[in-house]
């Protein structure tokens, strides 16, 4: 079973559209993350979230919003997509007091 799963794996969409990427973890972790990896391969934290606190990277546009229906899910909603949003988005999870974070396989978003 996949520990952290993201859907879809690939997403191609037009500018101006609204899209969502789903993330689920079956590890019982209490903290989940979203990262963006652009064409230069720099892995940038977007959000860090547990059931108590949301930490937002202040450089992330407010067109991006995390939604967590429960502890096992952290979905990423993106409004009014722009060309610069094209990147690979990774979801990850971790238990607060533990060391290791587990990453999903990534979602390659292409905005045309």
């Amino acid at each position: 079973d996949t520990a952290v799963s993201q859907t879809p794996k690939y997403l191609v969409t037009q500018m101006g559209n609204d899209k969502s990427i789903k993330c689920e973890q079956n590890l019982g972790h209490d903290t989940m993350y979203w990262y963006k990896q652009d064409s230069k391969k720099f892995l940038k934290i977007m959000f860090s979230y547990n059931n108590k606190e949301l930490i937002i990277n202040e450089t992330v546009p407010n067109r991006f919003s995390p939604k967590s229906p429960d502890k096992a899910h952290l979905n990423l909603h993106i409004n009014s997509l722009e060309l610069g949003d094209s990147a690979v988005y990774f979801c990850a999870s971790k238990q607060t007091e533990n060391t290791e974070a587990f990453f999903g396989q990534g979602t390659r978003l292409t905005v045309v």
Binding site: V4, T31, Y33, Y35, K41, F42, L43, K44, I45, S48, Y49, N50, K52, E53, I55, N57, F90, A92, K94, T96, E97, N98, T99, E100, A101, F102, F103, G104, Q105, G106
Partner: protein, 112 residues
């Protein structure tokens, strides 16, 4: 969060030992040092974590000097499949909702 500095890239032949050093001069007392590995088209994967001295697991060793201002990831007898980007992270990752902040990493190329 402590800033980290690593070489941008390294090359090695198969079968050699590879040492990747990370500088983190402003590491805090509560900070741990964690290394992740990322293969192309995959999410990062935890390799090893340490606080001081030496830590060894089935994949790698981590050497941390007494002042903790640097650390060295050692990969014994690398193979072609070890070609990846290696990230050094420094932070209090075992406490609270602490984002995992990735630097630019070191791109290791293993040559036959």
């Amino acid at each position: 969060l402590a800033k980290t500095t690593q070489p941008i890239s390294m090359d090695s032949y198969e079968g050699q030992e590879v040492n990747i050093t990370c500088s983190h001069n402003n590491i805090a007392t509560n900070d741990y040092i964690t290394w992740y590995q990322q293969f192309p088209s995959q999410g990062p994967r935890f390799i090893i974590q340490g606080y001081k001295t030496k830590v060894t697991n089935e994949v790698a060793s981590l050497f941390i000097p007494a002042d903790r201002k640097s650390s060295t990831l050692s990969l014994p007898r690398v193979s072609l499949s070890d070609t990846a980007v290696y990230y050094c992270l420094v932070g209090d990752s075992n406490s609270g909702n602490t984002p995992l902040v990735f630097g630019k990493g070191t791109r290791l190329s293993v040559i036959a």
